[in-house]
Symmetry: C2
Subunit: 542 residues, 2 copies
């Protein structure tokens, strides 16, 4: 999993200037999904959905830093009983439910407690990126394995992540990759020591030592900001290879109030400036090109070690990046560059030959991966817990008739200052996307009108039809999809359908006789059990 990798910044997805031969090669040996949506266009919430196989409003960790409630089942809980380990190599953005763990007396030092605190993973190494940030103290107070590595390699100072991996040098002094105008300068670090090659090395080290079946979440922080990359990648792309922004002046005329508020954030204003895009996007492309080279390194290792024959490989991202499209930066909203992600699955098994080298435009969601992995590990998907659906049929070249008609994504933006400006209570700062084959509908809590896009006639989503009277019927249909999804069975997690069916009528068998007027109405053994025992009069009247 990459972080903030757009669906269309790969050559196999049609990027005109960014060549990604290694990822393309995997796509040529696997299946590429062209309509894969994340459950929320923000790191933490999206990842918790991928790790639980559940929608963000089902697991409740709806934004970065919202703790995942103790006891919520994760991939590790599903895979370990099937004999498959579940390991983390990189980023999760997990925040432990410290209060919940305390309430249940779970210590983070215990095996169970540690897994609860790390959303079910066993840790090979955890690196959420964003180390040694800020005068106000670290973003992440834990010791950084990456910074420890940099120090071991002789990078001086206490904050090498900020001072080398994400900074350039000018006249012997640091200039930070945090500042977009520095994006095209070379990071002051040997390429092999930068974040992406370092994590690839950790992944290889993990695989080398692994003895029993494993699922490894190899989770890169890049091409996520700070946008800066070491030589030679910093200079591979120029302003002439920056694709034009997907936006129109019409979008700024009478926009939806929430869209307007997001267009007015500093990051949106910055990325709306062409000179900023011309700095940022070449660096973003360089980071992806470096990532592709590291995929080549990883795949070569898998080939040489024979693992390519028995390892399923999935390439995806936790969300995209607007990069100035729609006058926005970052992610947050539901336009395709933000909510749609790359999804390539390589399955070495012969059953998957049917789909090798093809693409599929079915509506898939990141929660489908948990279901896919459980089935791949030989398990049956527990539909009362995991809300995603297995993708294995698509890999076998099948197209399930009963596949979902709409993909859902949610966004809880109550942590953002803009909801003050919009006058929203924390529980009303929520958006729901319902994407069908043709229409993309966005419902906003808090009394706003919806947004609506016609993906068939307006693939670039430049015309919001949410206020169009001509589309009231479509809006009603899409809203009905939202309502039926909102009523879904999401929390009956302690009872499987099979267990329910098996338990029907059990109470009768245990002697609970509801509505029997006389002994003739029940089985003879029950009548005999209850009637006819010789007893004394104990009513106190005898």
């Amino acid at each position: 999993m990459f972080d903030q990798l757009r669906f269309d910044y790969l050559s196999c997805a049609g990027h005109p200037h960014l060549h990604t031969p290694n990822i393309d090669a995997l796509a040529a040996r696997g299946l590429r999904f062209t309509r894969a949506y994340v459950q929320s266009p923000v790191c933490g919430a999206s990842r918790m959905s991928t790790y639980t196989g559940r929608y963000t409003s089902s697991h409740g960790a709806q934004w970065n830093g919202y703790p995942l409630r103790v006891g919520e089942m994760t991939l590790g809980d599903h895979l370990r009983p099937l004999g498959m380990g579940c390991w983390l190599v990189g980023k999760t953005h997990m925040r432990a439910d410290v209060e919940g763990m305390k309430r249940l007396g779970l210590s983070p030092d215990s095996v169970i407690g540690a897994r609860q605190a790390e959303c079910g993973f066993d840790i090979w190494c955890r690196d959420d990126g964003l180390w040694s940030a800020g005068p106000d103290g670290c973003y992440d107070p834990r010791p950084s394995p990456y910074e420890a590595y940099l120090k071991s390699r002789g990078y001086e100072g206490d904050t090498p992540w900020a001072d080398y991996a994400n900074a350039a040098l000018e006249d012997g002094r640091t200039v930070s990759g945090w500042f977009l105008m520095n994006a095209r300068k070379p990071a002051n670090i040997r390429e092999e020591d930068s974040e992406t090659p370092w994590l690839t090395g950790e992944a290889i080290r993990f695989i080398e030592q692994a003895r029993s079946p494993w699922c490894a979440h190899v989770s890169y922080i890049k091409p996520h900001w700070p946008y800066i990359v070491p030589a030679p990648y910093h200079a591979m792309f120029g302003a002439d290879q920056v694709v034009p922004p997907r936006r129109s002046e019409a979008e700024r005329a009478d926009p939806h109030p929430i869209y307007a508020a997001f267009m007015d954030t500093p990051v949106a204003r910055a990325l709306s400036r062409d000179e900023v895009r011309e700095q940022v996007i070449p660096a973003y492309m360089g980071l992806i090109r470096q990532a592709d080279d590291q995929m080549g390194r990883l795949f070569a290792f898998l080939e040489d070690s024979g693992r390519m024959e028995d390892t399923m490989i999935v390439i995806t991202s936790d969300h995209g990046d607007y990069l100035g499209d729609h006058w926005l930066g970052e992610k947050d909203l539901f336009h395709e560059p933000s909510v749609k992600v790359p999804l390539i699955i390589y399955d070495p098994s012969p059953e998957a030959d049917a789909s090798r080298g093809t693409s599929c435009d079915a509506l898939v969601e990141s929660i489908d991966l948990a279901a896919t992995f459980i089935e791949t590990a030989g398990g049956k998907v527990p539909g009362h817990v995991v809300e995603g659906h297995t993708l294995l049929p698509f890999l076998r070249g099948e197209r399930p008739d009963d596949w979902r008609e709409v993909a859902i994504s949610e966004y809880d933006y109550s942590m953002l200052p803009i909801c003050e400006r919009l006058g929203l209570a924390p529980r009303d700062a929520r958006l729901f996307m319902v994407a069908g084959r043709r229409w993309k509908y966005v419902h906003a809590e808090g009394g706003f009108r919806p947004m609506l896009f016609d993906l068939e006639n307006d693939p670039d989503e430049l015309h919001d039809l949410g206020a169009s009277p001509d589309h009231s019927e479509v809006i009603a249909q899409m809203h009905a999809h939202l309502c039926s999804w909102a009523r879904r069975m999401a929390q009956r997690v302690t009872m499987s359908d099979a267990r329910i069916i098996a338990a029907r009528g059990a109470s009768d068998r245990k002697g609970i006789l509801i509505g029997a007027a006389s002994p003739d109405d029940v089985a003879p053994e029950l009548a005999a059990f209850y009637q006819g025992k010789a007893r004394k009069d104990r009513s106190g009247r005898g």
Copy 2:
């Protein structure tokens, strides 16, 4: 809390023949709610909502015997940190999430584990009723404190609950209270040894020994079936005091398919027969009359011990009983006799003088009790966990302007054999009631039409308008209420609104600089932290 006590089987609620002077006296000193709805018309689900303050689709324990997921917060979790104990004296219908506890390594023998296994209560005594049932073994395998008591009082045999407390004697042999035709016979037990007086004694013993502030869930199994009561209560009421059934032939002409299926169950068919009602209802009335006498005994003890001055008393039930109304028995559906319950709150504090002896027709839900108790214990209701609202304003004689417009109740009937007959998958065997001031709307999953009742012009709910074209607008309005409720914020349980608001912008303060084009765009200390450190060229190019 009584079990299966109808809202209208109290003289203070207008019953013409059943006199309940002690409960009436409490109502005269407290506030009586006339539109109190349970979150599900079935014991287990309703109780788990009362104990968690959350809707059944939020906590997931949607039917009898569905385990309450480990970690779900209960009254005990909320009250103990406020210095108030939370104790069980009687029934809960709780099933522990054994798998979840195992996954988290929680032993039922530990204090934390025991509370998890008992939905947060500390146990004074637990009695779910239904002991020593059936040749197929016990309904409840645990040792029964009530049967131990009966044996200590000299009742012979292994199954005294079934053979004495819930059976009569005929020619020296048992005839069972399970069989409705035996309902009017006297139970073969001394009245003071029967279930209701025994539990009242346990409540008094608990209160006598309590030293620190407590919340006690005094939870009776009666007047729940088996419908049988000892002398003299068995003979207090006759067929002439049985109120006529609230039903009409019109209900049997073209009924809603789900209603039709419930009308065709054995208990519904039995209670539709007048001769059965004439046996059952006098016994049911006798059980309630006995319960009222025991309330008198409990209140007298509280007066004598001074506890009446510092104890809030709530009288309610977990659901009602059709008793043949609408051609139905038991509960399950959403007509008033099933889903509406008595709710009387006596608050000794002077603030409550404003409402003493009055009644209130606001739409209240059983989940409101948890919020009320938390506030009474001096806490602030955690709105991100508890979905109910405090009732204290009503006790102070206020009428909150922003009170709920609709009450919600849900029913998961996937455990009932009738869903096979209806051809329903377990996840589609679900009903939602939305009750407003005038309209009661019932949505059914599985593609059925809705049900609709006009409580203003058809208070007895004899005319289902769910198929009426004249009411499509009302139906759309009520459905919209359902949808907005279904999208509620129910699982963001690890983040309070206050914590969210306080955390806004925290990432910037920690040095996460999103969208800063240059150092001029951020605070000087952040710019200084990231820029201008003297560093060597470590790019490998120097």
